[in-house]
Symmetry: none
Subunit: 128 residues, 2 copies
């Protein structure tokens, strides 16, 4: 009855590889330095790559218990994950937000619209 009797299989999604048992995550070959929560969230999302996972489901799986109204923990960690993922592999959108539903992990080429942003400065004088 070893708790470890269930060798969690390696999870994959595009260039992402996650090894639940080792606490290791690789993005395009690069090792990601993640904290416990970040890793847990990544596992939860990768396990259902391509599917939308609700905030409550994510919270229940990673934090345990039910998401309290007003708790922004999931959002904050999704943000931290996005930063590290896109930092490791630029130009790829890993986590997609489905307003009102949840998040979906699925590597997609980012849209580098103004790749050649001609004007470095002029951060925009935001009228209004």
């Amino acid at each position: 009855m070893e708790a470890s009797s269930t060798p969690e299989p390696v999870l994959r999604a595009g260039d992402l590889e996650v090894r639940p048992d080792e606490g290791l995550a690789l993005a395009a070959g690069r090792t990601l330095m993640l904290s416990v929560r970040e890793f847990g969230l990544l596992v939860a999302l990768t396990a259902r790559a391509g599917h939308i996972v609700g905030r409550d489901d994510l919270f229940a799986e990673v934090w345990g218990g039910s998401l309290r109204h007003g708790d922004r923990s999931v959002d904050v960690y999704v943000h931290k994950l996005r930063v590290k993922l896109e930092s490791a592999v630029p130009h790829v959108r890993w986590i997609h937000t489905h307003v009102g539903f949840g998040y979906r992990l699925e590597p997609e080429p980012a849209a580098p619209p103004v790749t050649g942003a001609s004007h470095p400065f002029h951060t925009e004088g935001t009228p209004r």
Copy 2:
């Protein structure tokens, strides 16, 4: 007692796949980014694909309550859905209008703008 004891089955219509429980819709394999209302409307239409669904029925199912005289919500959202559907899969007419009756979801090949389609030529042509 299970409120979730009704795993809504996946709905399909042509290249469209809708998963009511997940809030996810795929058109020709492409994930659609829909808002809650848009998704609800798509579910209502897809559930009765091929059939004409009245505005009042759509409103009742998606918004709840009865459609007030003069309310254009359904029309506005049908438009938003059409834009996203045809954006994801061009040259396909997804939602058809039946004046005086309602809308009908049914993927049909659209008339691709012929090379040099300079003059308007009665693009649609379904006078009942």
